[in-house]
Every structure is written in C-alpha cells, then in structure tokens.
Symmetry: C2
Subunit: 561 residues, 2 copies
C-alpha cells in the first residue's frame, strides 16, 4: 500500500506521542501476553511510586494527598510513569501531558502548603481522559487523521470543572475509529490491547481508558457511553464503569461521532479502579453546578437523600431484579457464574433477588441502531474524506479491507420524518419498560418495585480482537436512559467455567456465540456484572453499587491486580 | 363546495358537542364584540354560581371547597354552566364532560364529608384541558377529522395525575389545525374568537383554553407549548400562561402535531386566571412523582428551596434583565408601555432592572423553524389524507384556500443527518446564550447574573383573525429550553398607546407590522409581559412571577374582567 497523506499524518502523530515519553521511562519490548506485572518489575517506578499506584480506592489517595502524606507531585509523577509503561505494553494513550501535569501538581502542592486547605474535592489527583474531551491548545483527533489539526480553543466543560476541582490532567486515551465499536483500533494510533491477555481486546470505545486503569496507570478517568462504551471495556478489563442518564454530567465541549444525534445521547462515563472513584467524581462535577456552563446539563444537584437511599429504605433489605439473559444471546458460563455469585452474596447480606424477564430487547436493539445510523454513514464520510483515510470495516487483525462485519453493514439514510417515527416507537417501548419495572412491586415483598436490576454487561468476557458483536446488553439501557454501572466480580476459571452443552438457541447468532466459548482462551480474564436503576437515579445507583461491591468483595482485595 | 366525508364527520362532531350542552344553559345569539359580561347577564348562572366563577385565585377556590364553604358539586356546576356560556360566544370547547364531571364532584364531596379530608391537593377543582390530553373513552381529534374515531384507551399521564389529585375533568378546548399556528381554527370545530373583541383572535394554539379562562369558564387548565402556545393566547386574553422546561411535567399520553419531533419538545403548559393556579398545579403534578408514569419525565421533585428563591437571596432586591425588542420586530406601543409599567413597579418594590440586548434571535428563529418543519409536511399529510380534509393555509376569514401565508410556505424535507447539523447549531447558540446570561453578573450589582428576564410575549396584542405572524418572542425560549411565564399587565388604552412614528425598521416585515398598529382596533385588549429564567428553574420562575404580579397589581383587582 502506498503511503498517502493520511498515513503520514498518523505517523507524525504517533512519533510525537512517542517523543513525549521520557527515555528513562521506556522499557524494552516484552513478549508476555499478561502484562499486568510489568510496571512492578520494570524498574522504572520507585517503591513509593509502586505503593501509590497500587492503590485502588480513590478516596484513600485523595486523603493521602490532602493530608500531605504524599505530594500531588509524587502522585502525579507516579501515575505519569505508570501510564507511560502501560502505554508501551497496551498502546492505550493518545496524549501525554506529563510536563504540564507535573507543573500543575507542584502548584497544587504549593497552594496546599500555603493555605492549609485543598483547592477542591479532587485536589492533586491525576485524572485520565478519553480522547473526546477537548483540552485547550491540543487537537482531539478521536482517531481521525482529518481532525489532527483541529486545535481546541477551550477545555471541554467537564475538563474545566475537573481542573477547578483540583484535578491534574495528564493523559488522554485511545478509541476506535468512528467510536461505534466495542473494540479500540484506529488509523492514527493503532490498536489497544487487553493487559490481561494482549491477544484479547480491552473493549471499546473507552478501551484505552480501561486498559490504562487495569494497568493502574490511572485510578480515575472519564470515558463516554452511548451504547456501553464505558461499561463494556470496564467489564473486559476488571474495573468500574458508570453510565449516568442523559445530560446529568456536562457534555459540552466534547467531540463526538455522529455529532448532533440527540435521540440517544452520548454521556460522560466515569471509570475507576474503585466505586469510590465513581462516586467522588460524580459528586465533584455536580457540586460545581455544571448547568451554569453547559446549556444541556440537567439542573439537578448531587442528591444527598438519593445517595442515602431514602427511597430504598436506606439500603436495608433491598430487593434486586436479576436478568440471566436478554432473550437474544445467552451469556457464556463465566458471566452466568458472576451473576450467581453476586446473587448469593447479596442474599447472604440480607437482600433478596428475584428473576426479571427480558422485554422486547430485540425491538429496542433494532430501534436503537436505526436511530444511531439514521445518517446512512454521512457523518463518517465527512470525517474521513478530507484525508482519504479508509473506513475500518472489521477489527480482525489483518482483515481484508473489503470485509465488512455484520453489525457494520451500511444502512440507507433516513429522513427526519422517519426518525420521528422511531422516536415514537422508542417512547412507547420506554413506557412499557417503566410500567413493567413499576409492576414488580407485586413480587418484591417490599411494597416497592425492584430497587435495582442485575444483568450481564455482555454475553462474553474480553474476546479475541475482531470478535466483538453489537453491545446488546448495554445499549438497551442507553435507549431507555437508565443509569448503569459495570462492577468487576471475578475472573474466568477454566476449572469451573466449563463449556455447557445447549440444545436450543435463540438464533443462529446465539449458536455462533455459544461456539466461541473456550475456557482456555479466556482463562484469567475479568468478569463483571451490570447494575441498573431508573432514569436520573445516579446517586441511588452509586450507593447500591457500593452495597453490591461490599457484598462480593473482601476488603483487602484490590482491583485488577 | 360539495360536502365530502370529512365535512360530514366534522358536522356530526359539532352536533354532538352542541347536544352535550343542556337546553337550559343555552342563550340566544348575541351581537356584542366584547362578550365578557354575558355570563353575568344571561341569567343562566345563579348569584352563588357567579360568585364562585368570579374568583381568580385558585388557592382561594380550593380552600373554599376543602372547608366545605362550597361543595365541589356547586363549584363544578357553576363552571360547567359558565363554560357552556363561554362556548356559545367564543366557540372555545371541543368536549363537554358535564355529566361525568358532576358525578365525580358529588363523589368527592361525599369523600370529604365521610373522611374529613381531601383526596389530594386539587380536591374538587374543575380543570379544563386543551384537546391534546387524552381522556379514556373519547377521541382526541386535535382538530383533525381523521382522528375523530381514535378513542383513547387510557387517560394521558397528566390527566391520571390530576384525577388522583382530586381534580374534576369537565371540558376540553379548541386548537388550530396542525397546532402550529398562533390562532385557533380548524375544520372540525371552526374558529375560536377573543372574548374581549370577537373580531380578534384569542391566539393559539391553546386559544380555546385562553378564551375559556378569560370568560371565567375555567379557573385553571392545561394548554401546551412548543413555540408560545400557552403564553401567546394567555397574553391575548389577559390570563396567566406557563411554559416549563422540556419534560418537567409529564407529556406521555398527549397527542401531538409533528409527533416524534423531540429536538424542541412540546411541553404541558398550565394556564390560569391567577399565579396561584400555575404554582398549585405544578406542585401537585410534581408531588405525584410523574417519572413513575412517564418515562421521559425528569426525576426532579418540587423544589421548595427553589420556590423560596434560595439562589436569589430569597427574592429581596432582585435584578431583572429587560429586553425591549428582539432586534427583528419592534413591539407595538401598548406592549412597550406594559414593559415600562412592570419596570417601574419592580423598581418601586426595591428591585433593579437592567437592559438586556437580544442575541441572534434571527438565527435561533431560523434553526427552530427548520427543526420543526424538517419533515417537509409529511406529518400533516399523514393526518389529513385519510379523510381528504384540506390543509388550512391562511386563517383569514374567507381566505382563498390556495393562499398560503408567508410563515406557512411548504419546506423541503430534511435528512436525519441534516437535522443533526441543526442540533449542533442549536447547541452552540444555547451555549452562547448561557454564557451571555452568566456574564451579566458584572452588571447586576448583586454578584449574581440577572435573576430573570422580562420581555414582550409578542410584538402585538390580540390581532384580527388571520393577522398573526410567527411567534418570534416566545419560540426562542422553547429553543433555548428556558422556562417562561406570560403575566397580564394592562389593557390597550388609545389615549396613551398612540401610534409612534418610526424612521428606521429592522426589516420590511418590521415595517409591515408597524403599520398594523391602530389603537382603535386594539382598544381594551389585554397586554401581558413575559418572564424568563434559566432551564429547570420552574420553582424560582413561579416565585418571581408572584413577585412581579404583586408589584404590578392591586390586591383587589381580578383578572380578565
């Protein structure tokens, strides 16, 4: 293939990123498929830096900075180094703002020392960003070569708020071309791999963020989510991912794929190595009154009563629904085992769990995809054509460029009128789902409907590159606008997660998926579950997420390591 | 013109409505142009019924029912009678549910007597509904002959909530064909006229509701608003109209024009003869947790702190912005006088008022209309074609059916992709407007941005039938999703509202509008102003509306009479 304009642009950007990593933080090429131990072994990080970055709990790290146990400079340098290592083994970064981050950290340390108080709730904390959140003075290419010269005039609103809250912005992370994939590969930065097994995908579209967090190159970051993009990679990489409701967190100033599509809004999706990280960043952002900066942000402050579960008897004796499958694709054995484990843990903690029957997931799936792709590909074309960069149609390594995987087949563009008809259909489906949720009050024994719903994040764990399908288990909650969490539970254990024979299948796709399962391929890979509540119940979801997390986890256990 | 299928359907429906009015409530034809005094003079209502229906303050009426000073049956019968009279002189009704209303009122009286308490915050209160809110067992034709046989299987969610709160549903009110007009005329029910002067329009699209309220045939009702449809008729008829933010009040189960268009959402728009009516119904609906019935309703309970103006120093020494014109159409003299009167009253009450310069109203206007009409007329066609009913292209009495007024010219349908580009443009305009609002903090002297904005509801008062233009002064707040109130201020007085000569005009349209003004045409017609706040500040807006209302009104003055 001859090297055209877009190849040159991409090469230059990759070299620039490479040059941003100090020589003393580089390591020699490695051949392990599980690369999680490399930061601890490579000798780049000091023992203090390893201690800092081995933390999972964001609240502890913030406290250690606020009490000057560790300076922000020490913490930031530790995460910059570990992010640099993570990048060298997973290709997770798109930007390294190490110099400005270390300078900012020193300023924050100085402020704390002079004033005896923190600048805000995120004082001194390095926070990573998916390559959609604009940072003033830099382009946000989002994997498109044609966007490499579009320099941001302002920080995205959420980045402004993070900075005002004391956060240190130090890296941005990789995405798939067009974003509308659950893997992470593009023509600018190439492919991000799963640190648990580099032959597997970390998921997408916030795949760079998830790989970085799993490597403990970050403890807290922002992904985004329109169909599972924060939750799926979290599940694949053993970290926590959060999809709030539309416009709960400020989107303004983030770049996007299919921009202007507002029927199913992309949301800011916090990701972390701990539940505390998701809670802290959500509260910090809401406490900054984002509606004063983003015209679409809901005027809905952090709800203390919601977090105290005032509508859920304070979190005592909750009743969870559990959906074992969605009626279209039956989950692989480790996913079902994770659900059983969570059910058992919750019951042991005094809660109850009742079955939830899936409802019209196929129809919701069809409507959602019809809405997303209503432009018939015009948005992608507008982003690709300036440099002649090709559309990626398969994420299989070495795929024939003309091969188009099933869920990426081109669609006919729709008229605005046709789009309106889809909105009507979606509204009806949302009403039917709400009524079903409310109707569970006859079965819970609490007088309330189910407090939250447990279900798979995906029918599988991290799969080999190019093997993901559409995000059926996550996108439904985007369509219904139900907030959802991905919570890590366990890891694939071939001795118990054996192949289960099945005689009946929902569909040929279901049968194909069934045949994909091989315990040896997925050995040791993380498995999460999804927790879902009603629209705009973010605080209650985060509180119930903590209850689920406490129920399934021993206190000493750290995440992802 | 030969009488085809649609004419027969329309005639049958009108006759059915006529038959629903008891003979003893009918009056002989009248020739006055101002028909407001007819209920008091016609002899149909008893003196007690006149006393009941002369009230404007909803809180007083509710108290009188709750304390059994008046029974709900007495109140309901009084309003049924007065609504029947109002209909005979303004053609404001589409449905008269008198029998079921009286039955329900008697049940509520019985409940109160037996239990010594009310069923809910709207106990025994008759509430009128625009002909968009479905009532179980009845069609909601919304002015289309083809919808006359579409019988509702359920009440609209907001109707369910009103009933559960104790309201009595007794009438529905007229609308324009297609709804997208600021007048009220359709092929089923014909034209609604303004009770202050029947040669003038009551406005639209909630024109039936406004005419009924002005006649005191209702004290509280629900209109809707996508571009001014609750505020403009309120302004034209001397009553109060409220446009909340998108999805603050539950929409589900209401029928609509351009249904599925969600970029600029139609909202439930309460209308009343008093500010207390708007406050009481909004709180009653929110206290019923509408998000448990409407999947799109915001989970945002009534905000007591917001209503206490906790972010606006408790309502002491507020600073209002005032916009005298929008830079496209200069308001007629009485509209400017109403603004000056409000400014003076607020300053006399200790508040300050600073000028606000309009910003890109023309661009917002263009984007809004492009979004509304993105279907190129396909929705109208789908509603009209089943019966062959013609599209109304002009609301001038006796207009040539082929004449199409300027703001109703057909548009080309847009693709979904093109619609997305309009969303991007709108988002940027909303951001610029928000930043401008926030930036006023440098000029208010309070340390805060302006607390609310005063502006015209329209550049004119109620105009002769067929003379309205697009709703430039109201639709901008729909596009920006800023909640807004229309508050009646004064009436046109030819001795002071004289023609003002102008040498410069914003445009030929502006000049044409200028020439329309003739004090004698508009003599005695109501004039309102608009009050606007930031998105989802409904409670603060209602509280500040009360402050404005108190400042301009003597306590003894009643509304609309």
């Amino acid at each position: 293939m001859s090297s055209g304009k877009w190849q040159e642009l991409a090469k230059a950007k990759r070299e620039q990123l490479q040059q941003g990593i100090p020589k003393e933080w580089t390591i020699s090429p490695r051949s392990e498929s599980n690369v999680l131990q490399i930061p601890g072994e490579c000798g780049v990080l000091s023992s203090q830096e390893l201690e800092i970055t081995s933390l999972s709990d964001v609240s502890v790290l913030l406290r250690n900075i606020a009490t000057a146990k560790w300076s922000s400079l020490e913490v930031t340098r530790a995460f910059c180094k570990r992010a640099a290592i993570a990048h060298q083994v997973t290709n997770c970064l798109t930007d390294a703002f190490f110099d400005s981050a270390l300078k900012k950290a020193a300023e924050l340390d100085d402020y704390l020392q002079r004033n005896g108080k923190v600048v805000g709730p995120l004082h001194g904390l390095p926070i990573s960003l998916k390559d959609q959140f604009q940072v003033k003075g830099y382009p946000t290419p989002m994997g498109y070569t044609s966007w490499l010269d579009k320099v941001a005039e302002e920080d995205a609103v959420v980045v402004q708020i993070l900075r005002e809250s004391g956060a240190v912005i130090y890296v941005r992370t990789n995405v798939p071309q067009t974003l509308m994939w659950t893997e992470t590969y593009n023509n600018v930065y190439g492919r991000t791999v799963n640190p648990f097994n580099t032959s597997l995908t970390p998921g997408g579209s916030s795949g760079g963020e998830a790989a970085l967090l799993a490597m403990h190159g970050s403890i807290l970051g922002l992904g985004t989510d329109i169909g599972g993009s924060s939750r799926l990679p979290a599940h694949f990489c053993g970290v926590y991912g959060f999809k709030p409701s539309y416009h709960r967190l400020p989107w303004y100033g983030a770049v996007n794929s299919l921009d202007g599509q507002e029927s199913i809004s992309t949301v800011v999706g916090p990701m972390s190595t701990s539940m505390s990280g998701l809670q802290i960043i959500t509260k910090a952002i809401l406490d900054a009154k984002p509606w004063r900066k983003d015209p679409q942000a809901l005027r809905k402050p952090w709800d203390h009563e919601g977090y105290a579960l005032s509508e859920h008897v304070g979190g005592k004796r909750l009743c969870f629904g559990i959906m074992w499958d969605d009626g279209t694709l039956k989950p692989h054995p480790p996913v079902l085992r994770a659900l059983r484990q969570v059910k058992g843990a919750l019951e042991a903690a005094g809660h109850s769990v009742i079955d939830w029957t899936p409802y019209k997931h196929g129809e919701i799936y069809d409507v959602t995809r019809a809405i997303w792709y209503a432009d018939g590909g015009e948005d992608y074309e507008a982003c690709l054509s300036p440099t002649g960069e090709p559309l990626i149609n398969s994420m299989k390594p070495g795929a024939d460029p003309h091969e188009v995987v099933a869920h990426r087949k081109p669609r006919e563009p729709l008229s605005a009128y046709k789009l309106w008809q889809l909105h009507k259909q979606k509204r009806r489906l949302r009403k039917e789902h709400l009524d079903r949720w409310e109707s569970t009050s006859s079965r819970t024994g609490t007088g309330r409907p189910i407090d939250a719903l447990l279900c798979p994040v995906a029918p599988y764990v991290a799969v080999p590159h190019g093997q993901t399908r559409s995000a059926v288990y996550t996108m439904i909650w985007n369509a219904l606008d139900y907030p959802a969490l991905a919570i890590p539970v366990t890891k694939v254990d071939p001795s118990v997660d054996t192949v289960q024979s099945r005689e009946r299948f929902f569909s040929p796709d279901d049968e194909t998926l069934h045949k994909l399962y091989d315990p040896e391929i997925f050995k040791g890979v993380p498995v999460g579950i999804q927790l879902v509540t009603q629209p705009q119940e973010e605080e209650a979801l985060l509180a119930m997420g903590q209850i689920v997390d406490d129920a399934i986890r021993k206190p000493s256990e750290t995440c992802g390591l």
